[in-house]
């Protein structure tokens, strides 16, 4: 059987994405209705905007699924340069825009966007392209690993200056994951951890109280009104959900106990309303999505496609893991949205565009004859 020139996109992935998107819109509505009514006198405000973002994002995804991913590779350097410009532009007064002491957005007229979201995608495309070209040279420390670490470090610094520790952290993890996937020697990667070791020993032996303070996230009740507040509220939401949940729309924690429940802590509301069954289903859907992404990577027609799919999948997966870990008080609170579920335009647009790229790679998988 001759290999088909053009395959179909991965419909299983597409459907999974749509299910998650639907859950997201429903939960954003449920979580925001009350506060939205009180603040804007309109229960549907977040539903409407999230619906609009979803439509725009679906269009973006469909467009990206039509653009041959190899074309993206050609512009990889261009994307990196643009992303640097955008990240620096945040610090230009009048352009940068932020809230709660963190400058994370650029505003041009009514439009806002988060340059770091673009930066992440730019980095993934660039690394995939570059590592694919490097082939076996990736196994050399200086040529294969150091340049990417330097590139990553520049991104890391620019983003941490905003400050946005969780985003910087994700970029670091993605970088290492892609280097690992591309075949870098494991110890070439582990070696970067060496400078951390003495610091760690120092902390444990000399200033263990600092470590304890960092570990204090495990006991949010030590400071229930300030640092522990969100963690406690998240636990109470999840806990009151039990096995089956209070039922869709019946969350009580969304009534200002969890501030901005439609954002980072939306998974708590899912747990409260839909119970362990609903929450673990959402977890499973994400794992399923990751599996589809990895599957696309494994069957990608070339090294670039493989690394690109791996990078995109890791990006989504890491964000999910961090978000759920925060919500379940398994790590200190940090602001990471839950992809496809949390409200927010830029994040959804970029996640969906990246999924569009994944779909395009899947379209290029050649079904080999047997």
């Amino acid at each position: 059987m001759p290999a088909r020139k053009k395959g179909n996109i991965d419909f299983t992935l597409l459907i999974t994405v749509f299910i998650l998107l639907a859950i997201g819109i429903t939960m954003v509505f449920s979580a925001s209705a009350a506060s939205s009514y009180l603040k804007h006198n309109d229960s549907y405000k977040y539903l409407k905007s999230q619906g609009l973002y979803a439509i725009i994002s679906i269009i973006a995804m469909l467009i990206m699924s039509r653009v041959n991913y190899r074309i993206l590779g050609r512009y990889a350097l261009f994307f990196v340069i643009v992303s640097f410009i955008l990240l620096i532009a945040i610090f230009i007064p009048g352009l940068g825009y932020g809230a709660k002491g963190a400058m994370r957005w650029i505003r041009v007229g009514p439009l806002t966007m988060q340059p770091s979201e673009f930066a992440k995608t730019a980095l993934i495309i660039f690394m995939a392209r570059s590592l694919a070209n490097k082939k076996d040279k990736v196994r050399q420390f200086v040529q294969g690993v150091v340049p990417y670490i330097i590139l990553m470090a520049i991104y890391f610094l620019l983003i941490i200056l905003q400050p946005n520790l969780s985003m910087a952290g994700s970029i670091l993890i993605i970088t290492f994951a892609m280097l690992f996937a591309a075949g870098a020697r494991v110890w070439h990667l582990l070696v970067w951890g060496i400078p951390v070791i003495p610091a760690l020993i120092y902390l444990v032996t000399k200033e263990s109280y600092r470590l304890n303070r960092w570990l204090s996230f495990r006991d949010p009740w030590a400071d229930p009104l300030n640092t522990g507040y969100q963690a406690i509220q998240s636990l109470l939401a999840l806990g009151s959900g039990g096995l089956f949940g209070l039922g869709l729309g019946n969350s009580r924690q969304k009534f200002f106990y969890i501030p901005e429940a439609q954002n980072d802590f939306i998974f708590s509301i899912i747990g409260e309303e839909l119970g362990f069954i609903g929450a673990s289903t959402v977890l499973f859907l994400f794992l399923f999505l990751i599996w589809r992404g990895i599957r696309i990577a494994l069957h990608a027609p070339d090294m670039f496609g493989c690394l690109l799919a791996t990078g995109i999948t890791c990006m989504i997966g890491i964000q999910v893991v961090i978000n759920i870990a925060v919500v379940t008080v398994s790590m200190p609170t940090t602001g990471v949205t839950l992809p496809l579920i949390s409200s927010g335009g830029t994040s959804l647009l970029f996640v969906m565009s990246n999924i569009g790229i994944l779909l395009n790679i899947s379209r290029n998988i050649k079904t080999e004859g047997s």
Partner: protein, 660 residues
Amino acid sequence: MAGVAKKIKRRVLFLLASFTLLFFLLTVRLFQIQIVNGAEYQQKAIEQWTRDVPIPSKRGIIYDRNGKELATNAPAYEIYVRPVEVTDKESVAQTLSEVLKMDKETLMNKVSANKDTVIIKKKVDSDTVKILREKNIKGLIFVDDSKRFYPQSNFASYVLGFTNYDNQGQDGVEATFEKYLNGFPGRDIKMTDAQGRELPESDRKYYEPQDGLNLILTIDEVIQHFAEKAVENALVENKAKRVTAIVMEPKTGDILAMAIKPDYDNNNPREVPEDLIDQWDSMSSTEQYNALFKIWRNPAISDTYEPGSTFKTITAAAGLEEGVVKPDDKFYCSGSVVVAGRRLKCWRSYNPHGSESFAEGVQNSCNPVFIEVAQRLGKEKFYKYIQAFGFGSPTNIKLLGEASGIVRNVNSIGPVELANISFGQGITVTPIQLITAVSAIVNDGYLMEPRIAKKLVDNEGNTVHEFQPRVVRQVISKETSATMRQILESVVTEGSGGGAYIPGYKVGGKTGTAQKAENGRYVPGKYVSSFVGFAPANDPKVVVLVVIDEPGGASYYGGVIATPVVKSIISDTLRYLDVKPQYTEEEAKKLAKEKVTVPEIRNMKLKDAIKLLEQNKLKYRLEEEQGEPEQDSLVLDQTPRANAKVNEGTVVIIYAKPKE
């Protein structure tokens, strides 16, 4: 090209495996939170969502026995602030600090707190709230509340007591009848959002509060006024440390008045005492509280003192009841008596009473007579009466902090101690114990439990509970009681209690002057002067005890300084109670006689003073409890005082300086 190298695929698969592991761990964690610990978190969540707001109940009103309000409720407000709504924190804090007289720093913290609502102040009166309302400050919330209000401020302070900021009784009847006065607060239970707004489907439960019961005291507001006035005057005139007066109705044990000066303002019990204002801020909070507790302590029931001669009433009653002595029995006072090798002197050893009847012995307050009576009784029998009259144990009056006094163990006392107790030394009592015992003596022997509260009524005026007068026991017979009344009346008509004589009323009583003991030693110059009186003597309506603690004026004799106070209270009270004066023939004659003015004899030599009195057609009697005067001794005090208008032939009691 065959796609991707095997090695790369293995690496990618490793990444998938890692994710799978992480997701598995997160699912386990989720299971732990939602299923294993779910119930615990749910409980906490329910507590968080549930607002259980107590609805305060209206506190019962306290009335006197005739329905006059002694403690009531005034409208007041609790002021809260919502910090988010306060834009100009600085100026709001400034305004509040001026109007509420609070520290600006504290207020600044409150208006900028990171909380939904913060309490600013409780129990703010309506005038202050009006001022704040007119200023239209955004973010301030005024919540209705009530504040305990005592219409007459420093009035019956120790009986009434006061309440704390939560309207809970802290002292006096406010504390002892707390459970009736307080009522049952209602509750408003509902589910709310984080800002306290009620949630939809909140399952609201509302329980009406139940108002407290109104308390009717045995206190008579008018008699209390008489007592307060008399005590206040006595405090100033005698430069005393403290003056206590109790008025009791002997038949019921009802406390008609209990007045103590100095006292405190019930509306402001935590006011800094004047003498401590300067050092107040440098005192620790324990020291501050101890100072306040000292002020709140009710001396009428908490302070013990050596009763001195007033205790002779007990010795006399016991002796008569046991039949070891009769009113006409003859005694001989040689000025002193030797007990177990110790010479115990009569107070008038310089001029021994000589031969006298028992009744005269009481009139004269002659120590050897009482020593003799106590010896005839023996310590066991004497103790039986001391205990039966209630000494050494609380009277169970419904007020806080009653003391028992010290009655030494019967087995540990010898003849000297027994003799001392017979005239009121070596034993301590509380004022309430003494008046209760004396009431029993004049009330046919029935010892009543002192009653402070008459009944509890609801808002419609229905009686819910009546506190009945309670007979504790009968200590002496009716006959003995009658005899005691006669003898004690003669103390006023013939003896040391003359200062309490009121024409037209038969007044009985007994004086007492005792040196204060501190750390087991008598302190020179510190006395407790007292008088316990009752009237009318044939059918007592009131018993009045006045105790003057550490008088600092010219005189410290109970007969001089305490009798006029009792006299003033008794005469005011009997007229108020509409007890008609019944003049004896002699009194009627005296009334018809010409009035003479009592001359000033103080600081005169005794012999000159006597001459002057005789010139003024006045009789005299020499009284001295602390030592013997001579003809040249200076007159320290007199009763009645100079310039009093009295009948011819009235006895003027002279107190002279004892021989050095």
